[in-house]
C-alpha cells in the first residue's frame, strides 16, 4: 500500500505466556533498512517480540507484515539469529555443517546439500573470520566464536531483514567488533537489521534507530531523537542508575558498557 513498505510492521501484537501478558498491543513500524535496536529491561518482551513476529510463539492477537507481506510469502527475505544459549553446543555438528543450515532454503526439502551451496556457507564463515574452523566441532569453540558461527549461518541466508536476538551477549571484544562491522556492512547494502540489545552504553554508537520496549512500545524512531534520559527512565520505570544516566550523556567519559539495574 505505502510506496516503501516497512521491513517489519506490527499491529496491535499481544502475546501471553501461560496466563501473564508479555506483550500488550504492540504497534510498531520498523524502518525499511538500516540498523535498529530493541531496548528494554529484563522481561520487557524483547525476545518474545522477535519470536512472535516469526510465529515461533503463539500470539493472542495482532498482525505482522514483513515488507508488506505475510510471513509465509516473505520468509525467504528474513533471517533469524536466535540466542546463542538457546541450543545445545555439545551437539555433534561441525562449524561448516551449522553454517550450511543457512543454505537449506535454497536447497529445499529432501535433497542433500550441493557442493556449490557448501562453498557459499564457507564464504559466509570467511566473512566472520571463522573459515579456519570449518571442520571443528561446535562445542570446542569459545562463546564469541560460537556467536560468529551463528552470524555466518544467518549471512548465508542472504536475507533482506535480519532479526537478531542479543547478538552481542557474552562475546569477547574482538568478536563484538567483528559483528558490528558485519552489521554495518549489511546496513550499507540496504538491508535491515533489528537486534535485541542490552547494552545502553553502546546502543547509540552501534544503531541508527531504536525501539524502546517494556511490554508495550514506549518510544520508537531515530536514535538521537528517541534515546533520551526521559524516554529511558520511562522504559525502565525509573530503575536506571545514576551511572547509566551519566553514560548516556554525549560527552560521557564512561566508555565501559553499562547495563540497567535489573
Amino acid at each position: 500500500m505505502s510506496p516503501t513498505p516497512s521491513a517489519l510492521e506490527l499491529r496491535n501484537l499481544s502475546v501471553a505466556y501461560r496466563e501473564a501478558p508479555v506483550l500488550q498491543g504492540v504497534s510498531w513500524r520498523a524502518p525499511q533498512s538500516g540498523l535498529t535496536a530493541i531496548v528494554g529491561p529484563n522481561g520487557a518482551g524483547k525476545s518474545t517480540l522477535l519470536k512472535a513476529a516469526l510465529e515461533l510463539v503463539p500470539r493472542l492477537s495482532g498482525e505482522v507484515r514483513f515488507f508488506g507481506q505475510e510471513l509465509r510469502q516473505a520468509r525467504r527475505r528474513i533471517g533469524y539469529l536466535p540466542q546463542r544459549a538457546s541450543v545445545d553446543w555439545d551437539f555433534p555438528a561441525t562449524v561448516l555443517q551449522v553454517a550450511s543450515m543457512g543454505r537449506y532454503p535454497r536447497v529445499g526439502w529432501f535433497l542433500p546439500l550441493p557442493r556449490a551451496e557448501r562453498e557459499r556457507a564457507r564464504a559466509a564463515l570467511a566473512e566472520v573470520g571463522m573459515a579456519d574452523f570449518a571442520g571443528r566441532q561446535i562445542g570446542q569453540l569459545s562463546g564469541g566464536q560460537q556467536q560468529r558461527v551463528f552470524l555466518a549461518r544467518a549471512l548465508a541466508l542472504e536475507a533482506d531483514l535480519y532479526l537478531m536476538d542479543e547478538p552481542f551477549a557474552g562475546v569477547d571484544a574482538a568478536t563484538e567488533r567483528a559483528i558490528i562491522d558485519v552489521l554495518h556492512r549489511l546496513g550499507r547494502d540496504g538491508r535491515a537489521v533489528i537486534a535485541v540489545h542490552h547494552d545502553l552504553a553502546t546502543a547509540p554508537q552501534y544503531f541508527e534507530h531504536v525501539c524502546l520496549l517494556n511490554r508495550e512500545v514506549v518510544a520508537a524512531g531515530p536514535m538521537e531523537a528517541v534515546f533520551t534520559p526521559e524516554n529511558l527512565s520511562r522504559t525502565y520505570g525509573g530503575r536506571l542508575s545514576m551511572l547509566d544516566e551519566a553514560a548516556l550523556r554525549p560527552s560521557s567519559p564512561l566508555r565501559q558498557p553499562l547495563r540497567a539495574v535489573p
Binding site: L56, V107, F110, Q140
Partner: protein
Amino acid sequence: MTLFLQLDFAALSAAVLACLACGLLGNLLLLTRQSLLGDAISHSVLPGLVMGFIVTGTRATLPMVLGAMAAAVIAALLISLIRRLARLEAGAAMGVVFSGMFALGIVLIEVSGARAVDLDVDCVLYGQLEALIWPAATGFSSLWDPAALADMPQETRTLAGVLALTLAGLALLWKELRLAAFDPDFAASIGFAPRGLSLVVLVLVSVACVAAFWAVGSILVIAALVAPAAIARLLTDSYRGQFLISAAAAVAMGAGGYGAAIAVPALLGLDHGLNAAGMMAVVAGFLLVLAWAFGPYGRSRRVAMA
C-alpha cells in the same frame, strides 16, 4: 546349519533388526534430550496396542500400530497438559502418564481375555523372541528363496520393513532432522517445520516400538532405543559417526545378546536357556560401561581446544 536357520535365524534377525531400527531412531531422541520420550512411548503404547489387538483379534501389525500411535499421541498431549496445568516438571508429568497408561494396558490384557490368545503379560515384559522359528528353511539357499522367505515369522518380516522405513526416513530427511534437532527455532524461521519433523520422529519411534515389542517386550525396547545412541555419544563428536557407531552397537547388542543367551548356559552347565531379550540389555550395559570407562567423552569431558 539348517537347524540354525530353522531354530535361531528368524529370532536372531528379529533381535538385530529391532535393535537397529530402535537404535538408529534413538539417536534423534538422545540428541534432542528426549530419551525419556522413548520411555514414555514404550510404556504408554501398551493400552493402544492391546486395544488394537482386542478389536481385530489378530496380531496384524497395522491395527496395533494405529492403536499404539493413538496412545502415543494421547500420552504426549496428556504430558503437556499436565505440565501446564499442574505446573509439574516434565519428569513428574511423564511418571504420571506412563505409569497410568502402562497399568491400563496390563489391566486391559487381563480383563479382555487377550491372554487366552497370545498376548499375555509375560510377552509384555520379556518379548517372545524364543517363539520365532523358520521351519521352511532347508539350507543357505532358503535365504534368497522367496517362497521360503515368505514363510519367515511375520514379526521378523515386519521388523525388516520397519528398518527399511527407518533407513528411508533417515536418508530422505538427513539434513532436515539434524537441523530440527540442533536448532528448532531457526528451523521454523526458515520454514522447515520442526513440529512436523518431530511428529515424523514420534511416528517412526512408535512404529519401531510396536514392531520391536514382540521381540523384546515393552521395557527392553527402551534399552534398544537409548543404549546404542548413548554408547555412540560417549565415543564420537561427529553426526555421521554417531549414527554409524550406534548402528554397530545395536547389531552387537542384538546378535551378542542372542548369542550369549545360548552360549552362557552351555558354559555354566545350566540346563535352561537364558532370556535373550534380557541378555541383550546385559550386553548393552557391558558395552556402555566400556564406552564410559575408556571412551574419550565418558567419565570426564576431554577438553580438545587445539
